[in-house]
Amino acid sequence: MTRPGALCLVIVLAIAARLEGQNPLAGDAKAAKAGEYEFRINCALCHGLGARGGGRGPDLTRAQKKHTHNDAEMFQVISSGIPGTAMPANGTNGQGVGMTDEEIWQIITYIRSQEVKTPVAPQGSVAKGKELFYGDANCSLCHMVEGRGGRFGPDLSGVGGSRTREAIIESVRNPSRRLAWGLTEATKEFPQEYESVTAVTSDGRTIKGVTLNEDSFTVQIMDSNEQIHSLQKDTLRSLTKSRESAMPKYDADVLSDKDLGDVVAFLTSLGVK
């Protein structure tokens, strides 16, 4: 075939594929391999090696995804990003180069190849978990789900769509191991984390809480009463930060394995539509 002819065919196929919402490279093992490398270069920073979720980005091996239901939507999300989230449009994350359409399809092929085909059967009771969350387990004192609960910890309304069961269990049993990402400023490389902080003001007041934001001269803190404090660092008697999470460790004595299973069942049911 002549080169223009071949090009026309590719374009026609690509348009047809787009209209159908299908991946022209679907199921192609070679494309999946190329996609794996593209994924590492462009996506793994947030979504982790193997697409199993990183500090910032959701686990993409889940068959059910929050923002995309088919290949066409996934193409759209990779191309244009998701407004209001840390997911950037193709080529705009400031590191690395933009991908071609073909490379995006390769990545989709790779992600599809990594998906866990049969979702793990839910372990535990969602209803019981919800009861515990808002009741005896005291989760809602600090965490909010769909408008109900506290503000001291991260809002968990979308956690089911972005974290694996294992990651949620780890965060309950050992909250300090990996603090959640907090505020993401548009141009800042690394978002703030839920670091614990203790400030002693010049008049001797002690303020304990989590950092909402910070720069070299000021710090914004929320205390456990959900009060926001704006503090000038050079006026403080001391400022101590800790990687020990403000969340208590829920070990088996505090929350049995069975109750944990119920809470996790509730949390993993969230944010998946």
Binding site: A34, E36, Y37, R40, I41, A44, L45, L49, G55, G91, T92, G94, Q95, G96, V97, G98, M99, T100, E103, E185, T187, K188, E189, F190, E214, D215, S216, F217
Partner: protein, 551 residues
Amino acid sequence: MSVARASWVKTFCRKGRKEIPQRALRTARYGLIFLVACFSHSLYAQVTSERLVNSAKTPQNWMMYSGDYSGQRSSRLDQINVTNAHSMVAKWVYQTGSTGKLETTPLVVDGIMYATGPDNRAFALDARTGRPIWMYQRQIPGDIRPCCGRVNRGLAILGDKVFMGTLDAHVIALDAKTGNVIWDVAAADYRTGHSFTVAPLVVKNLVVLGVSGGEYGIRGFIDAYEADTGARKWRFYTVPGPGEPGHDSWGGDSWKVGGAPAWNTGTYDPPSNQLFWPTGNPSPSNRGEGREGDNLYSNSLLALDADSGKLNWYFQFTKHDEHDWDATQVPILADVGGKHLIAQANRNGFFYVIDRSSGKLVSATSYGKQTWSDTKDSEGRPVAKKEASPTLEGHTVCPGALGTTNYMPPTYDAQTGLFYVTARDQCDIFSTAPQPYEAGHAFYGSAYFPSEEARPYLGFLKAIDPATGEVKNKFQHTSPTWSGVLSTAGGLVFSGDAEGNFIAFDAATLKPLWHFQMGGAVYAAPIAFAVDGKEYVAIAAGSAVYAFGLP
């Protein structure tokens, strides 16, 4: 001369051509003022190559990327100093209306500021008020995919023209008074990954600049164009072709896609007529397989004859690089202890001091966290450990791919005798991801991402003594920053941070004396200038340019 006066004079002179006799006869006093004004206007309108050579002696102007040919980014202005810096205020803000990073270093000549923005923008401002005089934006082809943002680091000036490298790999000359395009030359094909983000350097009548595209497997080059016409005077390929010295440092045909771009502005030594231009990584950036050898002249400092582009000597910082450690940091010319030296804080974590006449290494000292080298060769050059190479599974190496420092320009302050540089401690997991070369496609051959085990990632402003390589002082930022650094004769060092602060430091102690929250992260470098005898310090942050001064 003030801008207000300049524009008044311009209008008056133009009008005056017809009206001179009447006006001059009517009031001799008016006529005298007019003549002086017209004279001074025409006197200052032209930027000659002599003015560029002597630019450090006219500190009211900032006439090239690093302030002068030495690359020291140090101003002799001292009106703003350690005793009054605490009272600094914002004088004006210019919103570019763009999205994306501003990496520009503005120029200021005779009260007019010339700067660039993302997406091929250039503009001229009244440096006293921030009011725009002209704005230019070049249309970008839809299929352009420059690495690392649609950025530009600034302009160069000569005569009544300013010069710009464009994202689609053209070199253009704009009329300094109107922004009109005077000439437009295609240097390379943007579709194969060539682009310009560099601020050109004018030497004599030549516009010198280096190409970007180390992420696309280009063959790098440094070009010189005649300022009057845009005709290319010379090109130096940073990857030697068959039969040229250094060609055998590339396995097989790898030289054809060898990279070694030259995307940051070099420096110039007028007495020896030598350009010192640094080069970037070999391609693919993180995979050495297939390009066996040292890969000359990637990650090197090149000493080139400015008239001919002929190579006098080279010094390679990182041989056969597999970590994206472009050596494109500004090579600062400084005379220390009677010796003519070049100092460069390199992306690979070492601070190099090189003899300017011979190109021989004087010292190489680590100035940040690094794990790739623990031995040196007979000439004192750090040698890479074998196990620092990326693997399929990936493993941690320090510094990470962004380097201990990057393009952000440092400063050398002759008063303190110290070299100030923005540094970061961050390690990355480097893993191989083999990719075939395809023209215009990303060509990394690997992937890297911040290593969790190396957290938190730290950012610093560090003061290094070039005589010993010792880090004398440091200031720790809240997070790593991409801001360049300026020093002034007022005993001050200026820099910005990722949280949006612009900070004045005491150069002797690196204690912050003043700061201003600009509301956007800094990716640019500061400058100092003066209008009407008043000193200003300016920097771009977020999508705006800010100027600060005394109340």
